[in-house]
């Protein structure tokens, strides 16, 4: 592998990892703070993409973006109020069943409203070319844009959690929920805020990924599996762990695929390449079940 190709693959890995971070940070926050397993997180990813690109096709990208993010906030508030709120006190199995059901409902709703055929996801013109990074390395502008947005969103969420009053309450709620409640903080409101933040990040990931992948029913689901791997590896509830694990998994997944062909090691290489991230998860579960980055 030449140096330029290696660099390009590292960039691919970083970009994929940061996208995973955007999707999984919501799941890990919700799990860490509210002790809630949310399988329907991928649906928020999907819905935001559908809102943005069906509105964007009519009224342009900018307005589509606003409608997508606005729409996902409304959906998240309603969802938390109508369903999720009832699941906080239930066991993890009930939460998985409940939110899995939500996922199926959302997938079918999308199919009823938008049909089974994928819809077109437009990109703004200024993002559709590629940028020359070195003599023989061109990189799609849009992929760089995803990387930038993911870094900005990560910074924003870190500032929110570590520098604001609401962030302080969220962290306190995650550690000592009863104490925070006893101090007169409206914990229901706090949980709703965390849920909406998580939803917006998932939605942002969906909007950014839409033009790269396929905007169709069920698109969030394969990615959610990787997000769960990220949480196991990084440790539930840890922002730093989530970032580190996302990038690690993005890199491992990308680099293993960058090396293997169909006949590599008699076909075994291909199997190992698609297993690589799960092997990592297995090792982490055996040696450090609380996750790599939790105290």
């Amino acid at each position: 592998m030449s140096l330029a190709l290696l660099l390009e693959q590292l960039l691919n890995g970083l970009q994929f990892g940061l996208m995973l971070f955007l999707l999984s940070v919501g799941v890990t926050l919700i799990f860490g703070v509210m002790n809630l397993v949310n399988i329907s997180h991928g649906s928020l990813f999907m819905l935001a993409a559908f809102f943005t690109y069906s509105a964007g096709a009519r009224w342009g990208y900018g307005l589509g973006l606003l409608i997508g993010l606005g729409g996902i906030i409304i959906v998240a508030i309603l969802l938390e109020w109508l369903v999720i709120r009832r699941l906080y006190q239930k066991s993890h199995l009930d939460q998985v069943l409940g939110t899995f059901g939500l996922m199926l409902i959302f997938n079918e709703l999308v199919r009823i409203i938008w049909g089974s055929e994928p819809i077109f996801a437009l990109t703004p013109n200024w993002l559709s070319g590629s940028i020359q990074l070195s003599e023989n390395l061109y990189y799609p502008t849009y992929r760089l844009a995803i990387t930038v947005v993911a870094i900005l969103a990560g910074l924003a969420i870190w500032l929110l959690l570590s520098r604001t009053r609401i962030g302080m309450l969220v962290r306190a709620g995650a550690d000592k929920r009863e104490t925070v409640e006893a101090l007169g903080v409206n914990i229901n409101f706090l949980f709703a805020v965390v849920f909406v933040i998580g939803a917006v990040l998932a939605g942002l990931a969906g909007i950014m990924m839409g033009p790269l992948i396929t905007v169709e029913s069920g698109i969030g689901d394969p990615l959610l599996i990787l997000a769960l791997v990220v949480i196991v590896v990084g440790g539930a509830g840890s922002l730093k762990g989530c970032l580190a694990a996302s990038v690690l998994i993005g890199m491992i997944d990308t680099l293993s695929r960058a090396l293997v062909t169909a006949d590599f090691a008699g076909g075994a290489g291909r199997a190992i390449s698609s297993m690589s991230v799960y092997l990592l998860m297995l090792v982490v579960l055996l040696l450090r079940p609380q996750g790599l980055f939790t105290r």
């Binding site: 089974s116 680099l255 062909t261 169909a262």
Partner: protein
């Protein structure tokens, strides 16, 4: 034919009396397709092709009124076999038609054969049924799966592709489509890469293609993966460096709207094309577009064609009562005029047909598949293993 006396009886029957036998059609057509699940779009277009054909035939097959009994196989072999039992034993269908998934086609071939039911596969065409497991009552009118890859392989060879890079989805159809193309190409690929189902990001694979110095890239990606692959291929700037070859599914009408300009220039092999110039095809195309506001898929075209095929055979056999006579008519179906143009039935009941090499180009209203050339009389590799003679 028999409709008139029943109708007369009904008209003569006094009010309040049940009109026994009036609802009973003369031909009961079983239709099976994946109406839900991962292949739901395919099932939907199979049905659209069927409905349009029956509309064009005024609801009659071989001149007799037809009732369609639909079944959903969910692209799942075990669901399909139990649905087949229902269609045969409860519904007592005369002919079974449809089927898109190869695994379903394999699963129901034997029970259907044992029941002696005439079966017309409109889209599925697995190799085993074209070879050793060929059967007198089994007709695969759409294609043998390999015909697409075989034709594209020959075309790439004609184009002087030297360094061929092959990619596909990591499952049965993906391996077969790649192998068939390499068979037609008559050489080896410089690299063969399979990507797992559910993978949405192709950046690492595309970076490798760029660095391989390949002058031809052949891929097999259907459905959602096709949209992701084609868009990422275009965004990577590889279009100027390497020609993308595939089979019709990569850029078919269900995905091309989501791919838009990214699909321009893609060359693919197909059994049907909107531009095939015969009156029956132009009628099919016009009415399909008017009804569904987009071009028909190959699924719809093949099913439409299969209904017309059955219609011609039923006319010749004088109905479905005498199965031996119907099967003979299905074999020597000289009254059939295909929307695909050249169409012959091979000894194994699979088609010998012209494969179309097409390229995506932009028109005022959207996108179209321009016919570049035809690979004539493509059959399949399995026919020698079929012992059936007629």
């Amino acid at each position: 034919m028999k409709a008139t006396p029943t109708l007369l009886k009904c008209l003569l029957a006094t009010a309040g009396l049940a009109c026994v036998g009036a609802a009973q059609a003369d031909i009961k057509l079983g239709f099976m397709g994946p109406m839900s699940g991962p292949l739901a779009i395919t099932g939907q277009d199979l049905r659209r092709g069927l409905d349009l054909a029956l509309e064009h035939l005024d609801g009659k097959l071989g001149g007799e009124t037809v009732t369609v009994v639909a079944a959903n196989d969910q692209a799942n072999p075990s669901v399909a076999t139990s649905e087949l039992t229902r269609l045969i034993e409860q519904e007592k269908i005369d002919v079974l038609m449809g089927i898109a998934a190869s695994n379903v086609a394999m699963a129901i071939a034997q029970p259907a054969t044992q029941a002696g039911l005439p079966v017309l596969y409109t889209h599925a065409g697995p190799g085993a049924l074209a070879g050793k497991a060929c059967a007198p009552n089994l007709f695969a009118l759409g294609h043998q799966n390999d015909q697409y890859g075989e034709a594209m392989g020959r075309y790439m060879k004609d184009q002087g592709v030297k360094n061929l890079y092959a990619m596909g989805l990591d499952y049965q159809a993906g391996w077969e489509m790649v192998d068939a193309a390499l068979h037609g190409f008559g050489g080896k690929a410089s690299a063969k890469v399979y990507t797992p189902m559910g993978q949405v990001d192709f950046a690492p694979e595309l970076s490798r293609v760029r660095n391989s110095g390949a002058d031809g890239l052949y891929v097999f990606y259907p459905g959602g993966a096709a949209v992701a692959f084609v868009r990422q291929f275009a965004a990577s700037g590889l279009k100027n460096q390497v020609q993308l070859y595939s089979v019709g599914a990569l850029v078919d009408p269900t995905v091309i709207g989501a791919q838009a300009d990214a699909a321009l220039g893609v060359i693919s092999a197909n059994t049907w094309n909107a531009g095939i110039d015969n009156p029956q095809n132009q009628r099919f195309l016009k009415d399909f577009v008017a009804k569904h506001d987009r071009e028909p898929t190959t699924f719809a075209a093949q099913t439409y064609d299969a209904v017309m095929y059955l219609d011609a055979a039923l006319k010749k056999a004088g109905g479905a009562q005498d199965r031996a006579k119907l099967i003979d008519a299905l074999r020597h179906n000289d009254g059939f005029q295909s929307i695909r143009g050249n169409f012959k039935l091979n000894r194994n009941h699979f088609p010998i047909q012209d494969m179309i090499i097409q390229q995506v180009e932009k028109t005022d209203g959207g996108y179209q598949q321009k016919i570049l050339t035809k690979i004539e009389d493509v059959s399949d590799r399995y026919v020698d293993e079929c012992e059936m003679k007629w």
